[in-house]
Amino acid sequence: MAVIRLVGVHKTLGGQEVLQGLTLDIPRGKLTTVIGKSGGGKSVLLKHVIGLLKPESGQVLVDDVDITRLGSRELNDVRKKFAMLFQGSALFDSLSVFDNVAFPLREKSTLSEAEIKDKVLGMLNEVGLSEMGHKFPSELSGGMRKRAGLARALVMGPEIMLFDEPTTGLDPMLARTIHELIVDTQKRFGFTGVMVSHEIPEVFGISDYVAMLLDGVIVAMGTPKEFQATQHPVVREFISVGRRGPKTAHEGPFRRRSEHEGR
């Protein structure tokens, strides 16, 4: 059953129609990954799911509530179900790692400071940052910042987790560790996960469902097995390029498109 449904979503940014009637169902309790070209609107899609952006037309339904029609107070109530791991982690520079993770608890829970401390230390331990609580985000490596961001996102026990390219800018070993951490926490906490990524083939190994965003619409969606068996030429090309790495000169659909755009 779908916990999030996007229906006919249109969005124009900077004069370009980024989402062109996008429709997508996100199943409950599963990890769904949306893949697609860089700059193709994947992050825009994610920001629509949590109400950071509003579509020009279409619906974004979370548990059958259309969040595009909600006022700020009602939207904040819906957002309590969510947490998001941003591409650059979006930790607050002025707060230590401990205070960053404690932030949502201090803001939105009625726990005492002692209970918050226990919970934050436990969460930092879960993501392997137990000794790093006193440090500031600027003192952490990229991987550590992602872990701290993940700890902050998970600390409120969200029903829905959004991951915006969680492994961008990390080396392959670290990327794998973050992926494993995501799968591990998803299994343990049982949240519905929505991830946008272009890490192919890694996402096939960790996702329950994979969808591809192309030209502002979802062109294919299914389990990793179904997805890889698709006959859609552009999807096939995208998967094979992802597996082999970028090629030099090949007459694939992307090649033809870019030549066409260049004229």
């Binding site: 904040n76 969510f82 947490a83 998001m84 591409q87 650059g88 979006a90 607050f92 949502p104």
Partner: protein, 257 residues
């Protein structure tokens, strides 16, 4: 050719009107979030420290030299009419009515206003503001409202310190350096400065505090998503705040006179 010019002017006008509308909505939204609990006292105190306490040095420095230069200029101008005894009155009225509020506001714009825009702009481009939204914490309430309220509260205090130091600067030059009688300096000031002058100066300081924080937080909040965007937003914020302070000063003075 004519159509191009007309459509260019039209586009520009629409953009300006649109921007003014967005700024007004931003202000109304800030004020409405200010009135809603939870009241963020710690954030407010932090901002009072940042905008007020940390601006003290620059306010004292500009205040003393403004007063000293007024003492010097006033003395030589008044001497032409044999009215050196009115130096206290000239320095005090200039500072309390005009220079205190305006110069302290311009100093705060340069020191704290630019930092506000840069801080909020960087939070915007690094998605920290989006992160607040996703945690159901209103950035308007958490970030913007304490800055605006602190600025409005702190500006009259900074202005009064500027006034005091400036008058003392004039006294130093007039009495200690140029030989005006101390009694004449104080008594001329006492007889000419009225409550309306002080009240008018404070009213200006409060409104300048609102202008600085409103423009600077707005520009930071709506910065474009690049480092260059933050730089541009900071420049625009300082220029627009400074210009608005001077324009608003004229209108307020004409009403208060």
């Amino acid at each position: 050719m004519v159509t191009t010019v007309v459509s260019g002017v039209g586009r520009r006008s629409l953009r300006i009107v649109g921007e003014m509308g967005r700024m007004m909505i931003f202000l109304i939204s800030t004020v409405s979030w200010m009135a809603r609990p939870p009241f963020r006292v710690m954030q407010l105190l932090k901002q009072i420290h940042f905008i007020g306490v940390k601006s003290l040095f620059v306010i004292v420095l500009t205040g003393i030299f403004t007063g000293m230069v007024l003492g010097l200029q006033g003395y030589y101008s008044l001497r032409k009419f044999g009215a050196e005894g009115l130096l206290g009155s000239a320095v005090a009225l200039s500072i309390i009515r005009e220079l205190g509020p305006v110069l302290s506001a311009l100093m705060v714009t340069g020191r704290a206003g630019s930092a506000m825009t840069a801080e909020i702009g960087i939070m915007r481009i690094t998605e920290q503001i989006d992160a607040l939204d996703t945690m159901a914490v209103s950035p308007m309430q958490y970030l913007i409202a304490p800055k605006v309220l602190a600025s409005v509260l702190v500006m009259p205090l900074l202005c009064s310190i500027f006034d005091l130091i400036g008058i003392y600067g004039g006294y130093l030059v007039g009495v200690n350096l140029l030989g005006v009688s101390s009694g004449a300096y104080i008594s001329s000031m006492e007889s000419s400065v009225e409550w309306e002058d002080v009240y008018g100066g404070f009213l200006k300081a409060v409104s300048f505090g609102l202008i600085i924080s409103w423009v600077c937080t707005y520009k930071g909040y709506h910065t474009t998503m690049s480092a260059e965007g933050v730089g541009t937003a900071t420049t625009e914020a300082v220029v627009l705040s400074s210009v608005l302070i001077l324009v608003w000063d004229y209108f307020l003075t004409s009403v208060l006179m």
